[in-house]
Symmetry: C2
Subunit: 196 residues, 2 copies
């Protein structure tokens, strides 16, 4: 997705330990027009999958997920990272380790909102080691619903997540695929690196 690659080139900051900081337009400050285009692109790519629900995880998955949901005209659920008092125990859960935050969270989705006849598109902002995406897949499987695919805004293709997901047979669509962050430079994967 050309607009996204240009934004990453212009505003992304490469930090030590393979961290790509995009908090000027994706996950702290957000560009609503870019998010709208991201939503349209996910909706286009998954339009023939019979999606009935979108699932993401708080917090930075919410913006791309709701924009996709708006175009696809389906509800969106965000998994919570710990159970607030207003959620009952009536929930599907999965354990997710965050390498960035170095902590394990229980993510949960109320059983009221995922049913076995749902076809679920999973959306998240980043894919690195795949922990969050695999946790969301677990939750869909627990609900005996169908995974339509996984839509990722920025994939770090040099980490394990993408391979783990495609090896399990799931369709993965990433709008920006980063081959390397070496020497403080963003190199996109495949043909994308030529276009920018």
């Amino acid at each position: 997705m050309q607009l996204l690659l240009e934004k990453i080139r212009q505003q992304g900051i490469v930090l030590p330990n393979n961290v790509l900081k995009v908090d000027s337009f994706i996950n702290h400050q957000m560009d609503p027009q870019l998010m709208k285009e991201i939503g349209k692109e996910f909706a286009r790519r998954f339009q023939n999958e019979g999606v009935t629900k979108i699932l993401t995880i708080e917090s930075s998955g919410i913006a791309p997920a709701i924009m996709t949901a708006l175009v696809m005209n389906v509800p969106v659920i965000f998994a919570k990272k710990r159970k607030p008092l207003t959620l009952t125990e009536h929930a599907y859960t999965s354990s997710v380790y965050s390498y960035t935050k170095q902590e394990t969270n229980i993510i949960s989705v109320s059983k009221d909102y995922l049913k076995s006849n749902d076809t679920v598109l999973i959306i998240d902002d980043f894919l690195a080691n795949g922990e969050a995406a695999l946790g969301l897949i677990n939750i869909v499987n627990e609900a005996q619903a169908k995974v339509a695919g996984i839509g990722i805004v920025i994939e770090k293709s040099f980490q394990e997540g993408a391979k783990k997901i495609t090896n399990k047979g799931y369709r993965l669509e990433s709008l920006a695929r980063i081959a390397s962050l070496e020497n403080g430079t963003v190199t996109f994967y495949h043909e994308h690196s030529l276009k920018v």
Copy 2:
């Protein structure tokens, strides 16, 4: 906002301790068309305030905030509840107590994204005791920016938050104002209670 009041009437569940559960359409599962209408309504109400930026707080403020930002065509920032490793110490912070979760969080916004010449519209899903909204106001003040006003999806008018904010002279616009949750029934404030 009539559509919102109808949704609350139909799908809101009153729990003990004045908790109104709206997680089928606002803060767990979300209705994207409703969020779009909410965004349009906030944009309409604050259209003459010269808003340059929208500020909310993770997680459930993000959806109404980005929909408002999309209509107003300004960036949106979500305050983080604790500092992740990818944020530097270069941040405005405020302490916020959550009565629902019974815990205090430090909320933070990078100094890169709020400037003294910004006019900031604060958006959140709920207003009860006002802790989150006042924390966000503190952050705008710390940045020496201007508060355009506070837009709330659901205000519990029988709690202290609304009074605290208007007593400080800020413009508050709440799309649903709840006068009471007594006897397990949602009663809207003022004329709204007559229309539903």
